[in-house]
Structures are given as C-alpha cells and as structure tokens.
C-alpha cells in the first residue's frame, strides 16, 4: 500500500512482541506504524552555579493502539562529570481520547549510585491544551516517588511561542544514598520563548528555575550545594 517506509523492519520486530494482531492487519492503511524522535530541550543553562548542558528527549514507535516509547533527560555540567541522566523505556497505549497509559522501566545512570525503577503513569493533553505527564516510580530499593510535569504552548504569533513548564518531584520515602528526602523533593519551572522556523525545528531562549525542597534541600546544603538556581537558557527543540 505504498507504505514501505513506515514499516521499519526493526520496529516491526520490536513492536510485534506487543501487537501480533496488529501486524496481521498491517495491510490496512489506518493501522500503519509511525515514529517520532523528538528533542524537546537541548540547552545550555548559565547563571547560578556551574554552566550545564541539559537535555530532554523522547521517541516513540507504533500504531494508534500500541507504542513503544523512550525518554531521556539529564544534566551535564560543562567540563565536569555527568550529574543527572535518566532513561525510560515504556509501553504506551491510549486510555481515553486525550490520554495514554505509560508503563515500563526507568534507569538513572546518575546520580550515583544508579537506580532502576518500575514506572506507571499517564500522559496526554489536558484541558486548555496543557501537556501533562504524571508518573509513579518504584525503585529497586522499594522507594516510591512521583513526578508531575506540565507544559503549555502559548502562541504569540503563528510561529513565536511562549512555553511555560513546571515539574514537581515527590518522594514517599527517603532514599538517603541518592540524597532524596521524603516529601516534595524538587520543583522546577521554566519559561521559554521559541521560534518555530519549521514545525520540526525551533531555537529558543528562556529561564529555568530549580529548587530543592525539604530534606532534599538539607542534603544539598550538607554537601555545600545551592538549593535553588535561576538560569538563563538557550537551546533548540527539534523532531523528525
């Protein structure tokens, strides 16, 4: 059906594990496999503390009903060793018109020691076009934590976009070795001004604010680290 490029052989193999019935019906045009690789943020942050390069990327492949997704985010202080790096591998399926269920694993390479988590959560488009992503994480040490992310695009013009973002991390128990206290851990807020040169490519500038809270803040103070930072960011977002 003139669709050969949509059917990446590797993807079919990978996805077939989950969706044998779908492959059997692959002849139908409306059941084709699509994929996207998206770098939401690739930016340098300068201001309080050391300058860092931060990224937030994701990718997915699948049809309307079943998708495999990959997410990664992290921070690397320039000239120093990797500070934060997280990978997630998820299975995703729609549970309502606008929301998907995510389930899978998360692995943090940093901070040290590394941690592996089971992930379950929902992600989708909330009212007023707010992109939301809410996940629960159960670590290998039995600690439960949660993360809520929200993001909205306010169009100033057809191509100029003001994008506020927010993120809250909560832990339900303490994991001292990775300096995570119980309760609200960190809050992050961002405000980025993007210009979509194409839908697929948008450079931006903005501000990023991060604050450690409660016991987590105490751990940081004990290490002689700042508990909050406000940084100027410049970067690009792109997808293909």
């Amino acid at each position: 059906m003139n669709y050969s490029n949509s059917f990446l052989p590797a993807a079919i193999l990978a996805t077939a594990v989950f969706i044998p019935t779908s492959i059997a019906r692959a002849a139908e045009m409306d059941d084709a496999i699509y994929w996207q690789f998206q770098v939401d943020q690739l930016e340098s942050r300068a201001g309080d503390g050391a300058d860092v390069v931060a990224w937030d990327a994701n990718a997915w492949i699948g049809n309307d009903d079943h998708r495999l997704a990959f997410k990664s985010e992290g921070e690397n202080p320039i000239g120093k060793r990797l500070e934060k790096a997280e990978l997630q591998f998820l299975y995703r399926r729609p549970i309502s018109t606008f929301f998907d269920l995510n389930a899978g694993i998360r692995h943090d390479l940093r901070p040290d020691p590394d941690r592996t988590y089971a992930v379950i959560g929902v992600q989708g488009l909330a009212k007023q076009f707010v992109e939301t992503d809410a996940n629960l994480f159960l670590s290998e040490t039995g600690d439960l934590s949660a993360r809520l992310e929200a993001e909205v695009d306010w169009r100033l013009t057809q191509r100029l976009i003001l994008q506020p973002t927010a993120e809250i991390n909560v832990a339900f128990s303490e994991d001292r070795r990775i300096h995570s206290g119980a309760g609200i851990n960190t809050v992050e807020a961002g405000l980025r001004l993007k210009y979509e040169i194409r839908r697929e490519f948008a450079p931006y500038v903005g501000l990023h604010y991060e604050r450690k809270v409660g016991a987590t803040a105490n751990f940081a103070r004990g290490e002689g680290e700042d508990t909050d930072s406000l940084r100027f960011v410049a970067g690009v977002s792109f997808w293909f």
């Binding site: 003139n2 949509s6 045009m29 409306d30 699509y34 606008f98 009212k127 100033l156 057809q158 997808w239």
Partner: protein, 575 residues
C-alpha cells in the same frame, strides 16, 4: 510555447464541443498508463504519478449503452488501481484493492470492462494508498443515448485538485499522525485574543478561549492540510487554464472536484451559472451565483456569456487558503480580474455539535417529522417565493407550522449546515449560493418507497490522534456493513466531528433526503457538515463488496472507511 499549447487546448475544446452536439459512435476503448513523472505547478518539478504522461489523466468519453474497455497498465514500482467514481458496474470492475480486486501489480495491465449504464459527468482515480494526491485522477463523460433536457453549444471539463507545494502525500499523513495541527497556521494567538477582546470584551473573549480549550479543539481547523497549490485541469492559477467561447453561446462546464482534501467555492464573477447536473444525474435547473463542491462531487453548470469579454473561473478553497483559477474568453490571451481572497472562516460552537443537546429540533432527523408541512427547498427561497423551478406551486407550505425557530427566523440559512455554523456559505458577490436543498432529480432513478431499516452512520474521530472513524470504530477494526440485495436502507449520517465529510458509496446511489420526496436527488457523494444529521436512502441493487468512505484522502487513510457487502438471502436459495 505556452500560446501554442493553449491553442491546442482550444482546438481540442472546439472539437469536443462539436462532438457534444451529436455524440458519434465511439470505440469505447482506452489505454491508460500510470507512471512516475514530474509536474511543475509549484515553481519547480516535483515527483508525481501521471496517467498517459499528464495530470489530470485524459478525459474518457463514452456513450450510454456501449461496452467499455479500459486497459490500465502499471508502469510504476508499486501497486496501483483505478476506481470509476460514480459508475454503476459489476463490483469486480470497481477497482478497490482488497475489496473488489487485488490491485494492479507493477508491470501488469488490468482490463476493466463493463457496460456504460448511465450518462453524465464522472471521474476516475487511483484507490491505492495515497496515489490520488500524487495525480492519479481524470474525468469521464458519458453521453446519453437520448436528448438531454438542456442545450449547450460547447463544453469543458473543469477538474479541480490540490497539489502540495512541499510535502509528499506520505509525509502529509505522517505529519498529521504525529501532530494533527501540523498544517494549521491559522491558530489562535495573542493577536487574535486581543482582536477578540476588542470585539467582544475581555470576559467573553476569555470565555470563548476557555470553551475551545476545554474541548482541546481549534476553530480554525477547517482543512487539516495547508500548503496546497490549487489546480484547474492540472494548471496552477498563474498557468491559467483557458477555455474559449463565442459571445452568446451556451457553455456547459463539467466541474469535478478531484482534490484530496479541498472543498471549493466556485463562482464566475459577472455570470450566473445554471446547475443542471449533480454527481452525473440531471437535476431541475437551478440558477446560482456560487456553489460549493465537496471533494469527489461533480456539478455541471451552463453559462451564457453574452458579452465579448473574458471571465475568471474562480474556485476558492473553503478554508480560504487559496484558489484555483482559469479563464473563459472569446480570444486567447485575454484575462479578467482575479477576485481577492475572502476573510478566513472559523468554526463556531454550532459546528462542534454543541447545538445538538439544546436544540434537538435542529437536526435533519427531527426535521423529517415535518416533511408533510414543509420542504427544505421551499425554505431556501427568499421572500416567500414558493414557486418551484418547474413552475408549480409548493403544496402544503405552512410557515406557521414549521417547528424550527432558528430556521424560520432566518429562512436564508442553509438547512444542511448547523444553525450558526462558521462554514455557512454565502455568495461572494451576493445572490444565490447553491444548497443541497435545491437539488431535485430531473427524473427519479428509483420509484419512491420507504426504507425498511435505518443504519446509523455516526461520523466520528479523534482529532488529537488523527484517527477518523465511523461509529467510533476505524476501518481496520470494523466489521463490514451488510445489506440485503433488493432492500432499501436509510443511512442516517450524524456528524459528530468538527470537519465536513464527503461520504462516498461505491456501486450504488445514495438518494439524499432533502425534502423533495420522490425527487430527492441521487448522489454518489454526500457531504455532511459538522454538527448536522443528513439522511439518504440506498437501493441495494448491486451485489458484491463495495467501499464506503469519507473522500477526504487522509480521513479515509486513517480509518473513516467501511466495507459494504450486498448479498442475496442465502436462506431463500437454500430452500
């Protein structure tokens, strides 16, 4: 060079016009070769799929009653097919891969052969993948055996289509699946918010934003795809397709909308058009100033330019993203002014079906109850003029008994749009805009009888995921619709989405209930506006397996499609 091409076209047209007067015996055999080629309508050559080297393919001309033979050769490296849109034929000749035949493999020739059982203007196109968007379409004229109920001196086929300036069809579909608003550059911005605040005040503007935001929908979502250049007979507006006429002649224009995604609003500034045929079937003549042609529809109009001057054929996209343009002139080289684009249209809450709950009387289903007392056609007529086009008076008209508050208060509203719809058509230069309500069969194809059952066809979709469906199920998950041979069923289309869907049934007519009773027009494609309910009867007189789908290419490709199976009662045979 261009001039000589024009002259050739002119010559061919004159020839065609001469032929039109007295249809001669024709061979009825055509050879079509589908191959990769390039066209330049967007400033640079782009890959296309051509038929006999061109876009659109040749006009196929037959005479009613003759046996047709059309050899279609696939010179490409992918499967192809040709579907004869609107033709009544054995299903094995219908040309839908996976439903009526296996498709035409690379290097193969498939011979379509069937009798021409009808006359009128039709068209053909590939039914494989997204090939139609790449150029695989052309027109069909079938001349009637007997005299037509209208006269004309010459004729032209006017094939309208859309061609993407940058993206291949596959990329378009992929972009829509990844980001449904990828092509929407008419989104609400800070600027439009400020405009709205100026117009309606801060509170109202914000409330409106919130209402759309709650639905996660966009009022500017009219066309799904932008970035098209619009073509008339394969030429862009600058390439200006031109037809010749002699002042005083009657010219028949056979409009075909072969676009993948684009509805056109068609007008010829300075000329009235008399609509004489819709989807190949003669209708009572309706003089109009403008008409909307849905994707896959055909309309034949007759114009009579008396002045010695050029006229612009102007087909503006419904989403106002551009236009197709051509010229009719007594002499090559003359042109007329090209109208300015009209302001963008925006959907309203009425198009979101928001009126349904509050105003149950607004949908056509409910209107049915009052058919004895009123008619959609009559409602359209301004100033209480209830004269039918054929000169008879409407019977049983009683405005007092019309139970439709909103409509009675605005008799000029088109009943085939949700009251208050942002898509409500209005003639650009004033005057009459064709409504479905105006279409009355010249001669009914079928005796009028009650349908024995109603099949609900809810047009549904998930705009965010770009999944289109019928009754919330997309094609790959759906069971076929089964009809019994010989039965008359009523399709009740309920459009629950914010898009207009031109629904096309293969192999059989859909008799649109527009309140004209036995003169309800028979169509192959019925366009259903957002927030409306439209009913049509189907005489299941064609055994076999048929396609039934929205003719918006990317809606069809993402699920708004069904197989319809017409079978004889096996129980009776067994007995």
């Amino acid at each position: 060079m261009r001039h000589s091409i024009h002259s050739l076209i002119g010559l061919a047209a004159v020839l065609a016009a001469t032929l039109a007067g007295a249809p001669p015996a024709q061979a009825g055999t055509y050879n079509l070769e589908i191959a990769r080629g390039a066209i330049d309508v967007a400033g640079r050559p782009q890959d296309a799929m051509t038929i006999n080297g061109g876009i659109p393919g040749p006009v196929l001309r037959f005479t009613e009653g003759e046996d047709l033979t059309i050899n279609v050769t696939n010179k490409m490296d992918v499967d192809t097919s040709i579907h004869w849109h609107g033709l009544i034929l054995p299903y094995q000749q219908d040309g839908v891969p996976g439903i009526s035949f296996p498709g035409i493999k690379p290097g193969e020739t498939f011979t379509y052969t069937f009798p021409a059982q009808q006359s009128g203007t039709y068209w053909y196109h590939s039914h494989s993948g997204l090939q139609e968007q790449s150029g695989v379409y052309g027109s069909i004229i079938i001349d009637p055996k007997t005299r037509e109920p209208f006269r004309y001196d010459r004729e032209y086929v006017v094939v309208l289509s859309d061609w993407h300036k940058t993206d291949t069809p596959k990329t378009i579909l992929s972009n829509l699946k990844i980001m449904a608003d990828y092509y929407n550059y008419q989104q609400r911005t800070l600027g439009t918010l400020l405009d709205d605040v100026k117009k309606m005040g801060f509170g109202a503007a914000l409330a409106d934003r919130m209402a759309w935001g709650d639905m996660r929908m966009m009022p500017s979502d009219i066309a799904d795809v932008s970035g098209y250049v619009f073509l008339m007979n394969g030429r862009n507006p600058d390439q200006n397709w031109t037809g010749l006429f002699k002042p005083g002649e009657r010219v028949r224009l056979r409009f075909v909308n072969a676009a993948a995604m684009t509805f056109f609003d068609v007008r010829i500034p300075g000329l009235k058009m008399t609509v004489v045929q819709a989807d190949g079937n003669n209708v009572r003549p309706v003089p109009v100033d403008e008409f909307r042609i849905a994707v896959a529809e055909t309309y034949d109009v007759i114009i009579r330019p008396t002045e010695d001057k050029a006229y612009t054929l102007f087909a503006e996209s419904m989403a106002r993203t551009g236009h197709a343009r051509g010229t009719l002139t007594p002499e090559m080289g003359r042109t007329a002014a090209v109208p300015d684009a009209r302001p963008k249209q925006f959907l309203t809450m009425a198009d979101m079906g928001m009126a349904h709950g509050d105003m149950p009387g607004m949908d056509h289903g409910a209107m049915k109850m009052d058919h004895g007392k009123m008619s959609h056609g009559a409602m359209k007529m301004p100033g209480g003029d209830h004269m039918m086009p054929d000169g008879t008076m409407m019977k049983g008209m009683d405005h007092g008994k019309m139970g439709h508050g909103a409509m009675a208060s605005n008799p000029k509203d088109d009943p085939f749009y949700a009251p208050g719809s942002g898509l409500m058509p209005k003639a650009a230069e004033g005057g009459k805009f064709l409504s479905y309500a105006d279409l009355k069969a010249f001669r009914p194809l079928y005796p009028d009888r009650e349908a024995t059952r109603v099949i609900e066809v809810r047009l549904t979709g998930n705009m965010e995921r770009y999944i289109w469906s019928i009754n919330d199920v997309k094609y790959s998950d759906a069971e076929p619709i089964k009809l019994k041979f010989g039965e008359r069923v009523r399709f009740k289309f309920i459009n629950e989405t914010m898009m207009t869907h031109p629904m096309h049934l293969h192999g059989m007519w859909q008799i649109l209930d527009n309140g004209s009773g036995k003169y309800n027009p028979a169509k192959h494609t019925i366009s259903i506006a957002p927030g409306t309910t439209v009913e049509a009867d189907i005489e299941a007189d064609a055994e076999g397996q048929w396609a039934f789908h929205c003719h918006l290419m990317y809606h069809m490709a993402s699920g708004m499609f069904r197989k319809v199976v017409v079978e004889r009662e096996t129980a009776e045979i067994a007995r």
